[in-house]
């Protein structure tokens, strides 16, 4: 739909102060000559910030997808709470909405005809779709979920949403965009609201500002420091971290800047997070692509435990990492990659003296977890592919991906350790849980 251009970036610079104003700010829409589409986007913006659409009256899309935090979570809480009393916890960490929305492909798993090529170059995991499990092919479909989910905005049905839309300050704008009688048809009005949200997310420049040091570096305007360059080299090294194999970091053929994801699914074996109330039930497992939130792939047991690869732009501002928000600092997250297999007791509990590696995955499905791609190929007794100093180098590089308007998230308000140490010991990890 919209591709980044220098003119778009100029719009971004002009509009960023207005983004900060929040509701009521007169945001323009860059790159669109279609007045109707722009009106939809403006309507979507007002819906995005409207807390009155939630059962609690205190939760908007922007509450979890905070514009000041690159449309990611404002703090380090592993999951957000919703519902009428804002006391119903979610299941997964909030992803950033910046950059990836217009380029996220529909969920697919290409099937390669040749059995041999299928086992060789073609046997890639599924890719695409919105959400950690890719269960929504369109933003319009995705938008229905938070509006109706009992642990989010908790509306009973489209009729209740429509009732609130009809009473909103932007009801007249809604009618101008979708017709004077739109509120007489709740399903149509509900669809219109979702369409408007999608237009806002796709069109508004604040979702794709490209105002990071790395963007400037790619455009030749600045140089990376020696440490940042070392970090980039480590990030790219196929025999080391091999991060760029999934988090693509190079310019496209048209000079477009990278989004640091290939949208593919991956099973990393992130440790179970006791901070998520659902995990109090030992029989409960969030297995991503094969359920429980997604149910059309539940029969594909080889998909269990796979979650979509997120983009890494603004990752250094986050305080919650991976699908279950188990880790709270970037250093921890990088340590997990390189020490998961060399020092598994740092991450997983022991049961009866036996380490329960990959404890968040049912035992009979742990074979799905990646042990063949670097850096996930080592074993106990081997050295991690990165030293702590090298991890600091990679962090320095990842910090170049932070947009200049992105604010670092606050710590997890519920954590009993305000600021977790970069290198957690087992005991500290257990304390956090």
């Amino acid at each position: 739909m919209m591709r980044r251009s220098s003119s778009t970036r100029n719009h971004v610079r002009a509009l960023l102060p207005q983004v900060a104003l929040g509701i009521g700010a007169a945001l323009g829409v860059a790159g669109r000559a279609d007045a109707a589409a722009s009106a939809q986007a403006e309507l979507g913006r007002q819906i995005f910030f409207d807390t009155a659409l939630s059962a609690s009256g205190r939760l908007a899309c922007a509450s979890c997808h905070s514009p000041a935090h690159a449309y990611g979570p404002p703090d380090g809480a592993p999951v957000r709470k919703g519902g009428a009393g804002l006391d119903q916890p979610g299941l997964r960490a909030v992803p950033s909405l910046r950059y990836v929305l217009n380029r996220t492909p529909v969920w697919s798993k290409p099937f390669i005809s040749s059995p041999t090529e299928r086992l060789l170059e073609g046997d890639e995991p599924p890719a695409g779709g919105f959400g950690w499990d890719g269960r929504f092919d369109t933003l319009e479909a995705q938008a229905a979920s938070p509006l109706l989910a009992s642990n989010e905005m908790a509306n009973r049905d489209p009729e209740e949403v429509t009732h609130k839309l009809a009473a909103a300050p932007y009801a007249e704008l809604f009618k101008r965009v979708f017709g004077a009688t739109i509120f007489a048809d709740p399903e149509e009005a509900f669809a219109g609201a979702r369409e408007a949200l999608a237009r806002f997310e796709l069109e508004d420049p604040s979702f794709h500002p490209y105002r990071s040091k790395y963007d400037d570096y790619l455009d030749g305007r600045v140089s990376l420091s020696a440490q940042e360059r070392r970090g980039l080299t480590l990030f790219d090294d196929v025999r080391g971290g091999s991060c760029a194999a999934c988090h693509l970091d190079r310019k496209g053929a048209d000079g477009s800047h990278p989004l640091f994801t290939d949208y593919q699914f991956e099973a990393l074996g992130v440790p179970r997070n006791a901070q998520i109330p659902a995990n109090a039930d030992p029989d409960f497992h969030d297995e991503g692509l094969c359920g429980p939130l997604r149910n059309d792939q539940s029969g594909q047991k080889n998909y269990c435990g796979l979650f979509k690869t997120p983009g890494l732009r603004n990752v250094a501002t986050r305080r919650v990492f991976f699908h279950n928000g188990r880790l709270h600092t970037l250093k921890e997250a990088l340590q997990f990659y390189v020490r998961r297999d060399t020092h598994p007791s740092q991450w997983y509990p022991a049961t009866g003296g036996v380490l329960d590696k990959f404890d968040d995955q049912p035992r009979n499905e742990r074979g799905n977890i990646d042990v063949i791609d670097a850096p996930l190929t080592r074993s106990v007794g081997q050295a991690p592919v990165w030293t702590d100093a090298q991890i600091d180098d990679v962090i320095a590089f990842l910090e170049t991906l932070t947009d200049r308007d992105a604010t670092p998230a606050a710590p997890d308000p519920a954590a009993d350790v305000a600021s977790p140490a970069p290198s957690l010991s087992v005991s500290k990890l257990h304390l956090q849980r």
Binding site: N102, T104, F111, I112, S114, P115, E117, L119, L139
Partner: protein, 440 residues
């Protein structure tokens, strides 16, 4: 870097004198059939099917089997020149045998999303103009191709690549290729539709031979001549706008590479189409009538439909009951015809056994028992063909190149399309096949 470039240039210059490397050899175009009248050739290359499947047991390609075969000629002993894809396309237009990388589609380790698109590292020349290389994918400018030969004699050509440039971040819409470098090729997997790329992008660089030669990509003609398939219909409108050589590569779904062809859940292409021979057949049903109705074809045309390679892969597995480890062997027969030679770069690469994956539970071995591309077959349709004819004369992609060089009277043969009298090497040319072509 500078030193390496200098050294390669020096070697190439020296070798050129020894072997006439890359230089077309003179010959007489002694075509004995009506092929002598052909001035427009249309080639459609599909992917990865066995001859016995395509022209025998499959029920997914009724148009190919029941319309095109009776309408034209079936070459029953046509072979691919290698596995896994790219080396076949390269042999078709240059006569070059694989480098250690092109034989693996320039995908490091033959696994993963990101492929290489980097220069061939040439160390010398071998007989019949073969580049000796330690690796790499893009041939240096002095390695010539069929389209260079055609240009030299004033003939036109175009490569029509379906989906190329649908996602301009992956590749340009004309002369589309990745940025030259290691791990720069993102086209190994089809991209499903998104808001930014509503049609998705199933272009695969490795199925476009033209962008693997500096003689082409460094030329302005590349952007003019290597274009998206959407240009073809307009080009077919008049004889004067139809190139003498029309080379068509469907996208990964429509060439049969992706999808099982059944439409069953979990077996489709990235865009949801059935793929396999089903989508390939639908592609042929769409485009072949347009080609056959074009003024250029009707005047002096020849349509060739073939595949890059077969998929004679046998997959066998055995379990070690002591260790619990299952060993999976994926085996290509790699059969050849026509006294095909492996070329100078395949020592230790073909035949070979490579372990792709080793885990406590699984070992995956890739076994190439030979260096050929196995039997694929080809269908030829032309006003000058004897309808419903067949030929059991063996051909391969080098033979196709030789045949095109004869048809277009380009004045010589490239690479393994050329004879090697010292080795008694000689390929048949399709134009002399009296089993399928009419006599003047």
């Amino acid at each position: 870097m500078g030193m390496r470039t200098w050294s390669v240039t020096l070697l190439a210059t020296a070798a050129a004198g020894m072997f006439s490397a890359g230089i077309a050899r003179t010959h007489s175009d002694g075509i004995t059939t009506d092929v002598a009248r052909i001035r427009h050739v249309f080639i459609i290359v599909l992917e990865n099917k066995n001859y016995t499947d395509t022209f025998g047991t499959s029920t997914q390609d009724p148009y190919l089997q029941k319309t095109l075969v009776p309408m034209g000629a079936l070459l029953t002993q046509y072979y691919g020149t290698g596995h896994v894809s790219l080396d076949n396309y390269i042999s078709m237009i240059s006569g070059q045998a694989p480098t250690p990388d092109t034989v693996d589609d320039c995908i490091p380790g033959l696994t993963g999303t990101l492929g290489n698109y980097d220069d061939v590292t040439q160390t010398g020349w071998a007989p019949q103009g073969q580049v000796v290389a330690t690796g790499g994918c893009i041939y240096p400018a002095r390695v010539r191709t069929l389209v260079d030969q055609m240009t030299q004699v004033g003939l036109s050509w175009r490569g029509y690549m379906e989906d190329m440039g649908n996602d301009p971040a992956r590749e340009n819409a004309s002369c589309g290729h990745p940025v030259i470098g290691v791990r720069t090729d993102r086209t190994n997997t089809a991209e499903a539709p998104s808001t930014a790329v509503p049609l998705g992008d199933a272009y695969a660089t490795r199925h476009n031979p033209f962008v693997y030669f500096h003689s082409i990509i460094d030329s302005k003609s590349c952007k003019k001549n290597v274009v998206n398939l959407t240009h073809l219909q307009a080009d077919l409108a008049q004889q004067s706008t139809t190139p003498n050589l029309v080379f068509i590569t469907p996208n990964l779904c429509n060439d049969g590479h992706d999808g099982a062809g059944t439409g069953a859940t979990g077996t489709t292409c990235a865009n949801g189409q059935p793929g396999g021979l089903t989508s390939a057949d639908e592609f042929l049903q769409t485009w072949v009538p347009r080609i056959l109705a074009s003024p250029a074809y009707r005047e002096d045309g020849l349509l060739i439909v073939t595949f890059d390679e077969s998929t004679y892969g046998a997959v066998t597995s055995s379990r070690n009951t002591t260790t619990g480890q299952t060993t999976v062997d994926i085996t290509y027969a790699g059969q050849t015809c026509c006294d095909q030679q492996p070329g100078p770069n395949l020592s230790g690469v073909r035949p070979s056994t490579t372990t792709l994956v080793t885990t406590p539970t699984v070992v995956q071995n890739l076994v190439f028992a030979g260096f050929g591309g196995d039997r694929i077959g080809a269908v030829l349709v032309s006003p000058f063909i004897i309808p419903g004819s067949t030929s059991a004369t063996p051909y391969n992609h080098y033979g196709l190149l030789r045949s095109l060089e004869d048809i277009f009277h380009v004045g010589g043969y490239l690479g393994y399309a050329a004879d090697d009298p010292r080795a008694g090497y000689h390929l048949d040319t399709i134009g002399n096949d009296e089993a399928i072509f009419q006599h003047p």
